[in-house]
Symmetry: C2
Subunit: 72 residues, 2 copies
């Protein structure tokens, strides 16, 4: 699978987990200590995010890192 496809799918997974917890973009980005537009970028798969960023999100969503990247 190609990189951009993976990034889009990771973004979708994050969004699904966020919505399942009834969190707004604002809510989640607040808890992750960054701004809403940055989270949107991630959920849309428009950024090649780092493990560090992914880890923050995983911890706030209370899921394992591996779950977020399990998209293949």
């Amino acid at each position: 699978m190609e990189k951009n496809e993976v990034l889009v799918k990771i973004g979708i997974k994050i969004r699904e987990l966020r919505e399942a917890k009834n969190l707004s973009l604002q809510d989640l980005s607040d808890k992750c200590d960054f701004e809403k537009p940055n989270l949107i970028r991630i959920e849309k798969g428009r950024t090649n995010l780092t493990i560090g960023t992914l880890l923050k999100i995983a911890q706030v969503l209370n899921v394992r890192l591996a779950e977020l990247v399990d998209v293949e």
Copy 2:
């Protein structure tokens, strides 16, 4: 778990998989299309690598992305 700890563990996992396949740093970095020192940086956990970089490595090592980050 803290970010740097995760990065170090991911590096160790990459190294283990590389050695299990009897590949030198040169071999693997060649197949990933980047230079050996960059791979060393990754295996030592000295860089907060992106999904794109991790994906390249996963594909060459023939493992899932999720396996490489499954360190918690």
